[in-house]
Subunit: 230 residues, 2 copies
DNA sequence: GGAAAGCAAGAGCACTGCTCTCTCAAATAC
DNA sequence: GTATTTGAGAGAGCAGTGCTCTTGCTTTCC
């Protein structure tokens, strides 16, 4: 009710722009993003696009926000379907969901976890929260597992210990530094595995990707200290 | 003796081009690579650059080749200084050397392990050998450790097992599939840790990078089944 | 009804990769 | 030693990019 036809039109055009941008991203990658091409497909003259998106960088930021949201939604949705006490399966499900989303949206994955776009800094206040959702999900599993530091945890420097101690309030479950680093390793490994697959570093080595990922996720589950999926 | 002044001049210009290209890469990232800018700095007109480099893609390939070589040299040199029987330290040294090179050459790291450049496929015959040097170094450590499959190794599908079995001749030490996947996990994790640091995903979390990496490398050494560095 | 704000068009600037033609000098062949 | 081939650079030009500025029209608001 409160919105005029013009506002509706504006929102519609904006949505069209983002839709076409995602399409371009999928088809041509980050560098293929062209404001002019979007304008052309919308039947607009090139300068008109700037009524909606002030710059290419802003379009990139919008795409990153949307991608983080879709990515977080997908992984959270998958994980939420698992029984809370099946901790091993929750981790396995997170890993599989991350890969599934990445394989389905390789250009978006590259945007989120690939090389930073030159001369462009994503504004942290608009991306860090959305980007933390998946790692936080991993830490939530660790928190529910109520893990204790063990003798197997390698030593760490006092400075690192202090730093991780200071981060405790930001994370669920008051995780001790030794446990927190297990989560960081698990998430880093997952990103590494997915990125190496998507960016083609495994060509002529592994092709059985889902099986390989499951194998490694299970291994990492043991490193984390989680029970086997039941 | 066998080369004319003209050939010498050509090689010199070629070297200048690559030097400037690396500079540009460091300053502006992959997308900042501009043949015209290189020509300008060499005092050449823009078309003259094509006497030396047939296309931007070819320049990218040359940069990737050079980068893989420098990267492989750096890591191999570091690892070769460690006593052969100190297997834990060899792995730790590889990891540290990878990070050190990446931190010193972030744009090159992004070129090798970051998002693929759109519309560009590195010709495998010119990059896979150079790109395999560091992972092969990891596998060489595993080979020297003479590791056996253990009950801790997670199960894997028959298809994955077959595939890894077929790869055995390509790798040093006739590694069994269960051991090979440990190496793949270690290398993937290392890449993930380094990329997440360099690409800024750890901002506002970890800043004690060397200490954190050592901690995780030690953890991974245990997963690999290597003894502690002596 | 008049003022204000929103939207689109068009021209233009500086940049990119790349192609084509032309000229000149150096290396090679006879 | 002359003639010919080859390599290097210059210059114009094409199609594309992000982005700015001015101009005109239409919708919204008061």
């Amino acid at each position: 009710m409160t919105d005029t036809p013009r506002q509706r039109q504006h929102r519609q055009t904006m949505a069209d722009i983002l839709r076409l941008a995602h399409q371009q991203l999928a088809a041509e990658g980050t560098a293929g993003l062209s404001l002019r091409a979007i304008a052309r497909e919308l039947g607009l003259v090139s300068s008109a696009i700037y009524r909606y998106v002030p710059s290419r960088d802003e379009l990139l930021t919008l795409l990153i926000e949307e991608s983080y949201t879709a990515y977080g939604d997908a992984v959270e949705a998958a994980e939420s379907r698992i029984r809370r006490d099946d901790l091993g399966r929750r981790w396995l499900t997170i890993g599989r969901a991350v890969r599934r989303w990445a394989v389905a949206n390789p250009a978006e994955w590259a945007l989120l976890y690939g090389s930073p776009v030159p001369d462009y800094q994503a504004p942290p206040e608009r991306t860090t929260a959305a980007g933390s959702r998946v790692p936080l999900l991993v830490l939530a599993v660790l928190a529910d597992a109520d893990l204790k530091p063990s003798a197997d945890d390698p030593p760490m420097t006092a400075a690192l210990h202090r730093e991780l101690d200071r981060l405790r309030p930001q994370f669920p479950g008051d995780l001790k530094p030794e446990v927190l680093t297990r989560g960081l390793l698990a998430f880093s490994s997952l990103c590494g595995l997915v990125s190496l697959e998507l960016f083609g570093q495994f060509t002529n080595t592994v092709t059985q990707f889902p099986g390989h990922l499951d194998h490694q996720l299970t291994r990492l589950g043991a490193v984390l200290g989680l029970p086997e999926p039941s």
